[in-house]
């Protein structure tokens, strides 16, 4: 194998599994270290910089970082990254001195952001410090988009939402609320310099052809629309027996909301098996924990109704069987169909992006699935003035993806407004490596490995929580638990950096490494090398760090897979050929507090 180029920004970035997995590339280990030092404000701002909504995400994020966490590979349970983010938000001090300053003299360019959800707000935050005049348009009376309308208050208290949304609005966004956009042509006629479409995926899927759907329509609601009407106080109760159809997070929110609004009995019915449900593991756990049954492998056949009143739903019984290729296929079990009584059905079976208000003759092209055709890097549509982000770009994702898109789109819009090339003028990615050595055996980070198990987030008393939709279920880590959980972080951003010409091949690092990551051996092809290391490197998703040829003709090979970054290789190295160096990645972004 060729020697690894550690100055390629992507090499060590991949080692920081959480940061690599985060769409917005939040520097997770760095903010967890700040939490461990009780520097909550700085930890919060580091988050705010990259993901824009730390308080909101600390409660609602889909957490792509957690399954990626190295602890999963070394000791099963990941660090509670998401809930530590919340710790930073809950305990932060005054952040105003750290906020980017917005110039009073504008740069003369006006941008329109359509939809006031997370994507648009994040674009606004990135562009405002550069002097742009930012206009936001939304059909709802306030900003926040799906964060306000689709996430129930028992998961995301309104104060937390408003604090972070208002922070951006108060930077000087000109809001146009209760503003129904019915024509993109009209918007374009308003003459903004650039447009960002962040209108999300606002249409909940329906089953219009299922027998009885029309006749019992009065008792059937689309999940996200119903949640939205709860959020705005239009719906305050639901009675009788409720069936929630669907297996995603919206379904979990619908059933838990129903419980709180007075439903007599709530059941979730899912077409597929439990393990393949789209809902996050912890959402499913919380649902079951509140005593709501989840019935799996039951696709609906028809709505049963009498005199215009819904009686229930008839379901088929299936099982999922793996075919020759290992793909799951639904096969009827042959059991008799099951009838379940219901007074109300909530359908949470998926969402679509839907832009009927964009005329198809104004230069914005759509593909066969009705998604806009975009440049994936710049998020520019086929109309050069128009950019997309969030769910409206590539279909339903989540808030953290909206933030990530927004950073990219903001750079593009800025370059576009300044007349520069969107690709060649983009700021490059980069990496800095800074030695953490402070003395013979002292490091600027807490290198000792903490074998503690993941700490459990305390919850509100269930009786109280179920009686009021505004009572937040999770209480969050208190300071003490937060500090303990923070110690579990392995500091994967403090990298083991190897310098060939210093190595005397004494084997000290090989002997001390608790995870058997390091091998000195003859070079070879990757597949061959992986098989003959001290411990076989079977995780192909994790890179091998290979040195240049050493004096004996061998090479140093380190399997990055399960390194716990304890720094003992560097401590036991007599020549400093190993050093622990903090990697700081420069992910291109506008208007952050650090630029």
């Amino acid at each position: 194998m060729k020697p690894t180029n550690v100055f390629d920004p992507n090499y060590f970035h991949k080692v920081v599994d959480c940061q690599w997995a985060c769409p917005a590339h939040t520097p997770v280990p760095e903010y967890i270290r700040l939490i461990a030092q009780q520097r909550y404000t700085e930890a919060y701002m580091l988050n705010w910089d990259s993901n824009v909504f730390p308080g909101i995400l600390g409660r609602t994020c889909d957490r792509p970082c957690e399954p990626a966490c190295r602890r999963v590979r070394t000791e099963e349970k990941p660090v509670a990254i998401c809930r530590l983010k919340r710790v930073a938000a809950d305990h932060k001090g005054d952040i105003t001195p750290y906020l980017p300053r917005v110039p009073t003299r504008k740069n003369g360019k006006r941008v329109a952001l359509l939809g006031a959800g997370p994507a648009s707000l994040a674009v606004a935050r990135d562009l405002l410090p550069l002097g742009y005049e930012v206009h936001v348009f939304d059909k709802d009376p306030g900003a926040g988009g799906m964060m306000r309308t689709q996430i129930p208050a028992f998961r995301l208290p309104i104060e937390v939402l408003e604090e972070e949304v208002d922070l951006i609005m108060d930077m000087g966004v000109q809001g146009h609320f209760n503003y129904t956009i019915d024509s993109m042509r009209d918007m374009l006629d308003q003459g903004f310099d650039a447009y960002f479409i962040g209108t999300g995926a606002p249409r909940g899927r329906d089953l219009p052809n299922l027998p009885g759907r029309v006749e019992s329509g009065a008792h059937i609601s689309i999940g996200i629309d119903w949640l939205s009407s709860v959020a705005f106080g239009h719906t305050t109760s639901i009675s009788g027996k409720v069936i929630v159809m669907g297996g995603g997070n919206t379904a979990m929110d619908c059933c838990r909301t129903s419980m709180r609004l007075g439903a007599e009995e709530v059941t979730v019915v899912v077409r597929s098996g439990f393990d393949v449900m789209k809902a996050s593991e912890w959402e499913k756990e919380d649902t079951i924990g509140e005593g709501i049954p989840i019935v799996n492998n039951r696709p609906p056949i028809k709505f049963v109704h009498e005199n215009g009143k819904l009686k229930g739903v008839l379901f088929q019984c299936i099982e999922q069987v793996a075919d020759e290729n290992g793909r799951l296929e639904s096969v009827p079990t042959g059991e008799p169909d099951v009838f379940m009584e219901a007074d109300h059905v909530l359908m949470a079976i998926g969402q679509e992006n839907h832009c009927p208000w964009i005329e198809r003759d104004i230069g914005i092209e759509f593909d066969q699935w009705d998604c806009p055709i975009l440049n994936e890097e710049t998020l520019q549509s086929t109309n050069p003035k128009v950019f997309f982000g969030g769910d409206s770009a590539f279909g339903p994702e989540n808030i953290i993806w909206a933030s990530a898109h927004a950073h990219r789109a903001a750079i593009s819009m800025h370059l576009f407004c300044q007349g520069e090339d969107l690709l060649s003028a983009r700021p490059p990615e980069g990496v800095n490596l800074i030695s953490q050595k402070m003395g013979m055996h002292e490091w600027a980070y807490d290198s000792a490995h903490d074998p503690a198990q993941r700490f459990i987030v305390p919850k509100a008393d269930q009786k109280v929580a179920l009686s009021n939709i505004k009572v937040e279920v999770e209480l969050g880590f208190d300071e003490e638990l937060g500090l303990k959980e923070a110690q579990r972080c392995l500091n994967c951003d403090v990298q083991t950096v190897f310098t060939e010409n210093l190595c005397i091949e004494c084997d000290a690092c090989v002997d001390i490494c608790p995870m058997d990551c390091i091998t000195f051996t003859d070079n070879g092809e990757e597949s061959d090398l992986r098989g003959r290391l001290t411990a076989p490197a079977s995780n192909l998703e994790q890179d091998l760090y290979v040195s240049d040829e050493l004096k004996t003709g061998r090479v140093m090979v380190k399997d990055e897979d399960v390194c716990v970054h304890c720094g003992l290789c560097a401590e036991r190295c007599p020549t400093n050929a190993w050093d622990m160096q903090k990697s700081i990645f420069h992910i291109p972004q506008l208007g952050s507090s650090s630029t």
Binding site: T74, C506, D516
Partner: protein, 351 residues
């Protein structure tokens, strides 16, 4: 020294031995020796070898004298018996341990000072007595603990850190052991576990006195350009004569070698020691030739490594002394104190 302890977490695919233990169960606390010390690699090799043998850690007794080398038993086999004894007196203490409890596997760790200077007499006599033990010398040619004076194994003409040459003839422990009748003699290098680990395994199973001289560089005082015991010098001047591979009892011998290339030696526990000759003319069963070979190569500045001599039919001091077959602590009062009549009988036999 490192102030943090070695994390208890280990590689998820770390193998278990026949006892269900991992290699990590044979470790001790983290070393306090200088970073990069060859002795730590020897400790790691012992850990690996003992784990591979599937002997419970508490069936080992580790004994040492004084010096950097003699500190190392603290850093391996944390759950075994051990005694850090008096300077140069490790052989006597080990002899006592072995006589009292012959069921223990004795590992004696010593250094070039502890063995070739203050302990030279003890060394010579434990070889003669054939105590059933593995005697390892961590040989770095220098007194590291007192800041780098030449030790008795330092080669003549080799320099110290400041460039001054050594004026004295070296003591070659391997030659000495061969001369006085050791039945298992090997030399190895701390930087080559592929060679060292099988040698330790074989030495532990050898019935009788097994001696391994391990060149183990001192990074602090004897790893410079003028040293003949530095990592670089040993790597550049090694002459590997016989590789000893270990084939456990339950594994079938399948590899096919050309005749004359290999020789299988049956070990007392039923496992096989496979000797692969890297030097065609070398015969690890011929004591005299081995002595001459080592001597010739030493004159050429080469460091001969590998299993230099083995007598597979060797016996130990218990056999010579015709002692009881069981460890003394397993004997009952009747056996240990047979009474005055038995004493009278013994006394009578001398009259």
């Amino acid at each position: 020294m490192s102030f943090i302890s070695k994390p208890v977490v280990h590689h998820p695919q770390l193998g278990h031995n026949d006892l269900g233990l991992t290699r990590r169960d044979y470790e001790g606390p983290i070393s306090t020796l200088c970073a990069g010390c060859g002795h730590d690699s020897v400790s790691a090799a012992i850990v690996q070898a003992c784990a591979e043998l599937s002997i419970p850690p508490h069936r080992f007794a580790k004994v040492s004298g004084i010096g950097c080398s003699s500190k190392t038993p603290s850093y391996f086999l944390g759950n075994s018996h051990g005694l850090n004894s008096v300077h140069g007196r490790m052989p006597s203490v080990t002899t006592g341990a072995n006589l009292a409890n012959r069921s223990l596997h004795c590992i004696g760790i010593s250094g070039d000072g502890d063995t070739a200077s203050i302990g030279l007499g003890q060394f010579a006599h434990i070889v003669r007595r054939r105590v059933n033990m593995l005697y390892i010398v961590d040989n770095n040619g220098t007194y590291g603990l007192t800041k780098g004076q030449f030790s008795a194994t330092n080669d003549k003409g080799s320099t110290n850190k400041k460039g001054l040459p050594n004026l004295h003839e070296p003591i070659d422990l391997v030659s000495m052991a061969l001369q006085i009748g050791a039945t298992f003699v090997a030399r190895s290098f701390s930087g080559d576990k592929r060679q060292l680990v099988p040698l330790i395994r074989a030495g532990l199973l050898h019935e009788g006195f097994a001696f391994i001289d391990v060149v183990s560089p001192c990074v602090a005082f004897n790893n410079h350009a003028g040293s003949t015991k530095s990592y670089e010098y040993v790597r550049g001047h090694r002459d590997d004569v016989v590789m000893a591979d270990f084939v456990p009892t339950h594994e079938e011998i399948t590899a096919d070698y050309a005749p004359g290339e290999r020789e299988d030696v049956l070990m007392p526990d039923g496992s096989t020691l496979r000797l692969r000759k890297l030097e065609e003319t070398y015969d690890p069963r011929d004591r005299t030739k081995a002595l001459n070979y080592v001597h010739d190569k030493t004159l050429q500045g080469e460091v001969v490594t590998g299993l230099l001599y083995i007598d597979p039919d060797a016996s130990d001091c218990h056999a010579m002394l015709n002692t009881v077959a069981e460890p003394l602590n397993s004997l009952g009062e009747a056996e240990l104190c047979p009474g005055s009549e038995a004493l009278d009988a013994i006394n009578a036999s001398f009259r």
